[in-house]
Amino acid sequence: MKRRDFLKIAGALSLAGCAGTVPSKARVVIVGGGFGGATAAKYIRKWAPAVDVVLVERESAFVSCPISNLVLAGYSSMPEISQDYDGLRRHGVQVVRDEAIAVDAAKKTVRLARGGDIAYERLIVSPGIDFSFAEIEGYEAAMQAGRVLHAWKAGEQTVALRRQLEDLRDGGVVVLSIPLAPYRCPPGPYERASMIAAYLKQAKPRSKLLVLDANPDVTSKGALFKKAWADLYKGTLEYRGNAKAVAIDARSMTVKLEVEDVRGDVLNVVPPQRAGNIAQSAGLITHNNRWCDVDWRSMESRKVPGVHVLGDATLSAPLMPKSASMANNHAKIAAAAIIEQLSGRAPQSDTQILNTCYSFVSQKEAIRVSSVHRWDAKDGTLKPVAGAGGVSAARSEAEGTFAWNWARTIWADTLA
């Protein structure tokens, strides 16, 4: 029997369940093993061991974007931010290394690049982001020539950017370009600016970092970042708002803004972003050709029934960041709702989740932002609870300790 036939039959059998309990062979397929998909896989198995969970992930290992900025400064390492998927296998998750290329929502099947079709009862798509390279003229050619990096998906480009920083001559210029919001991890670019500046100040003190932000001002924890930059990186880090990159000239190593050209020895240009490619081919995108709207009580797509979308790919609820903490919590909403749906019940409607994001501003000091998001029936979305949440009183080593605790704990909560 071919593998795809087996999966089809297993899928058909799963239709035989009855309302009230989870059908014994119900299968949930999850596309993407990042913070969203991996957490969903673990929590569905944990809360409903009768459910068959298949996780489709194209990489052999998970590499964390959080803490990856510390790798650039030499304060962390790729092994420290990487993990295999054995922890999920121990929860009984079937991890399939393949790439999902299409979804047939009518037949309830996912097409894999190598493995044929997999049938599902419910599908979770947690694809993260992909880049709209075409919005910056010359980007792709410059990237292929190794002249520009985004390093906005942790992995090879993180290693390559670290190498470029190490190879930089003392007195060289690093350009960090930030796209208009919304993008993955609102404070991430400013943490990166802090980490690159920390490295330059220590290892190449005559060098300079130019931060070119398409946004008018720092989009997250602004006062705390600016205080850290003024206190720690004066003369090393220069920040400019309203500085949107429109083109890159690889030969002259120039980032072209709307009104001027800026030359650098290292070009780290973070491009505009949208939901990962599979969201497009699965027909899940609802807004601006970029993001996927969901029902926040279940994370089910507002466009394609039976398909749940998690993480950065979602059309963010008001003041909700595209963060690892949010993706992890989206996954728990979806896990709880899917278990109810498989049992023939409606998902609970009293959804409430919290977000916490830490950013390092030096090797040991960090700053934090927290918020609590509650279902608002009138407006049909998750809204920040008034009076709750906030940012650190000041940058501190204590917050740095909590930041490392957050990273190690969320990695374990997601993957172990």
Partner: protein, 103 residues
């Protein structure tokens, strides 16, 4: 008459069982959010964590501390801001759920 009473009792038992299950799920779902810093089910999974495990702590202790954070009576780096997002019934549900977890 006897029959009527037993039906009523059965219906009541069924109702309370369903309600209890829904409340457990509500506590579980709310508490799941805390795991990003406090660990899955409130069990610390990392070395050198600055936090104490919530799993298996007395219910009243957890609820009292959450209210102390919320009302500004216990200083914190983050919990004073986060606790303000939770109502008394939500705090009680979270506390009951963590208290029931194995250490």
């Amino acid at each position: 008459m006897q029959k009527t009473i037993s039906w009523t009792t059965a219906a009541f038992v069924l109702f309370t069982a369903t309600t209890a299950a829904a409340q457990d799920a509500a506590g579980r779902n709310l508490a799941a959010s805390c795991a990003i810093c406090h660990g899955t089910d409130g069990r610390i999974a990392t070395k050198d964590s600055p936090l104490i495990p919530l799993a298996g702590l007395p219910r009243d202790h957890i609820a009292t501390q959450m209210r102390a954070f919320r009302d500004g009576k216990r200083p914190a780096t983050a919990m004073h801001q986060i606790a303000k997002g939770y109502t008394d019934p939500q705090i009680d549900a979270i506390a009951a759920w963590f208290a029931a977890q194995k250490r």
